[in-house]
Amino acid sequence: MKMGMSKYFKTKRARKETILGFVFLLPSFLGVSIFVLIPFIDAVRRSFSETMTRRFVGLENYRLVFANEAFKLAAKNTGKFLLICIPLLLLLSLFFSVLLFSIGGLQNVIKTTFLIPMVIPAASIVLLWRVFFDEYGMLNKIIVHFGGSGTDWMNSSKAFYILVFTYIWKNIGYDIILWLAGLNGISQSVYEAASVDGAGTFTKFIYITLPNLMSTLFIVTVLSLINSFKVFREAYLIAGDYPHESIYMLQHVFNNWFTNLDIQKMCAGAVLVAITLLTVIIGIQKLTGSDKEEVL
């Protein structure tokens, strides 16, 4: 480590450039510190103390969180949502991006079409979903028209799958763009060489495309993970503080704890989620090899 860092301070010029780099970093570091780091440190402190008196209580808040049925349900639902959504989104977006990459002319039009859901405000999506998925909504009318029986989509276990669909629908365009950027980074000469050696499309995909997309995979996964937490907006606006238990997510429980002034539990829960996410991200980083320092 020491050796690694020392190259940045070895010569006068390197030292100067390093200092300049830090100066450029300073504004965003200040912003992140004020809006993320310091509040997070405060949340960690609060997770070990009482809400108002700030008396130190050790791990009591964590014990309460782990014993809390609402937290367990929310954690289970959030985990299930992530395990289903992230792989599904990665696979679908990769599939479409490879497809788009291989066709020429209409690429831009199709890309834009996929991106449209991203720019639709959450409130409009909620309105749209109400029109579609309400007990007396369009979807039920269509089902009844063809002889089926309607269902209360948002107040049954099907609400979970609607949320999954919403997430995929909204984020697939963004992920396609990221994958396409990765695909564009792979040199055509590698493909040409493989073709000369007699490799087919599938072989090229497995042995050239996928290994070269590993660093993109890390970025896409992390961003998809972060975006998955934004789907709470839709769930909250459609079904409120207490939705059907299948879409009762961690954000619901945190939100309701805040309403009840259970800040200590909220902070302990937030710290647990941060640790879990950090572990997952480091794991993905290791798996995709994105933690290895690029050789200049």
Binding site: E50, T51, M52, T53, N68, E69, A70, L73, N155, Y236, L237, G240, D241, Y242, E245, Y248, V253, N255, N256, W257, F258, T259, N260, L261, D262, I263
Partner: protein, 738 residues
Amino acid sequence: MRKKKMSDNKRTRLLVLFLCVVLISSLLIGCKSRGDKETSSVPMGRYMEQELELPEEYQESHIISILSNVDNELEVYLATATTMIALIYDGESWTEKTISWINNIDQNKYMIYKVILGKDNQYYLITVDYSSGEYQYMIYKEDGELAQKLEIPWLETKTEDYKGEMSYPNVEDIQVLEDGTLVILPSIYGESVNMFDPSTGELIQDYSLIAPVAVSNQDLIGYSTDQQKLLRMDKSGRETASYVYDAVLDNSLIQEVDGNIYSLNSAGVSVLQKDGSLWQTIVEGGLTTLSDQTMVFQELAVMEKEKAAYAVLAYDSQYNIKLYYYQFDENVASIPSTQMNVYSLYLNPTIRQAIIKYQSEHPDVLINYTYAIENGEASNANLSDTIRALNTELLAGNGADILVLDGLPRDSYVEKGVLEDISDRIKPLVDDETLNKNIMQNYLSDSSCYYVPLRFQVPLAYGNKQVVEAMPSLDAMIALLENKDVTGLFNNIGAENFANLFWALYSKELVTDEKTINEEILGKYLDMLQLLMEKLGEENIFNFGTSQLQVDNAIELDRGFSMYFGENNKSETFVEQLLSLSDSQVTLAGAREVGMYYDTFDNQYIESGLVGINKASKNKELAKEFLAYLLGDKVQSSTAFDGFPVNAKALDGVMNEVDTLQGMSIAIDTEIRQIEAPDEKQVKELYDKIKELDNPISYDCMLSSLVIDQVKDFLEDKVSKEEAVQNIMNVAKGYLAE
């Protein structure tokens, strides 16, 4: 060349450094506390309110009118049982004035209801002849010792009214110009002000203006709904000036004195100087009774002397006439030196009235009252957001000094130490029985007390004795409904309302202390609802049920608690939530006339106005003092129609006010039913039941709405009972576990 470049670079860096220093310095200056440098000089002088009391011998009289006379003194016109009296108030004492011209009018035949002083310095009055039952209005003018009737043909011509009946025109108010031209305002809502020739009595102009209306020496001033301004119109109907005016029009008055326009509304008394364009507040409404939204202003008198004074005649919420006098006091600070904040989710009428009273008794205190949700309307999302905003303030050690906990997570606030222990103030009041012990014991533990209710409401059932007696017990209700021959059940108010009503009544059994739902009791609850709906038939299921926490400014439970139809029928059962003694009239009339049985639900009551003090308050002593004031006789004795007083003496007083009950008439379909006031014995019986109430209904709106959604599926046969129980358990588990 290189040297020059380096020197330029140096200069640029120095400039950047200098700019940074300037930027940081100005930011730091902006953050500087200004506390130390505040000057000690406090602006002094404010108009102080005084409720004028008439001399002792006239206290039984009824005030008819007030005006400012030619000497700029307040003249008050009173009606006694037989005659009219005028009193003059010079700011310190009262003197009687002879008004033989008024007393020459036959007051057995004509009712005098307004006296005015025209711009021609002549007195006029409005009377109504009610002897023939046709209510004909007449206007008289002072003529020495006599009253001279003004002959106005318009007043004597019958026209078709809004009901299609022929009647004489209405006269709401009159004004007189300098030349004697008469202005009549027929209604405060109608868009018509009429001007009459003083000599012929003929209509000379009809203006499309509404109240408030005033006159100057030669012009008429009134509000135009088209232009949304006050307009000054001359006798020819031409607009000569317009003024911006922003107020609730049907409770505003204006006066023109020497070219200045004075306005009275709940914001206070303000003036628009002659040729000016800005309204200046003279009497600040927020520091006086004028801000009481229940006040109905009748008249404003402006005494423009060396030291100006103002008088306001108004009806309060109980329709008592009040006379307030405003005089400038230069020894009082313009803005009260002490300020305190009160916060509630919904408007609490008791607190609002108390603040006005307290401020008028304590001129050095300003109480800022914030209620977050207007008219009780809020979605669950808005409600949660509002509570979270309050929580953020509380976490930062801020927040109001006094918190009204209706709808707030009060148990969490107690547990987290947000609220101050007020047992030192409450316990002595309970021990000496100043406060109702049965009610207050629910908020006092051995060592602490964090909040207390200001009022309590009384839910009761009336009608069929068998049903009323069975209602408090779930088992008894099931047994009753399983009986094939049962009669005297409820009017079908819809399954959702019944589900809400019985969820509230049995909530203590349904939700255990361990914060779980008792599955067995839940099953019984569903059985009972199913049996009930089968007995009542399928009609009207879920037709008008909504969960509503606040109705008409009073915290009420869901509509299941208001089966208010007014039927006098022993063979049906109704539920009523009494907020005041007058609410009991229908119940007691049913009991008196057809023997309807009534009772409370196992002594359950509904809390209203739960008040606690913020532990982080910087005005704890003042907050405690105000809390004691809220629980004191003065506030508790006044009626705000949000419940019965928790103060024992005030409750005695309310229950002894039988003679104030005047009966009522209620419309049932197309018929009007007249209800006589109850007698003392009946009220005493009701009082005995109310005194016994000692069990607060523990009701969680959010939980009930989550549960009722599932109950609805069960009653509509979408799910079986087992599935419904499971769904409710699942829904409630998450909520209760939080």
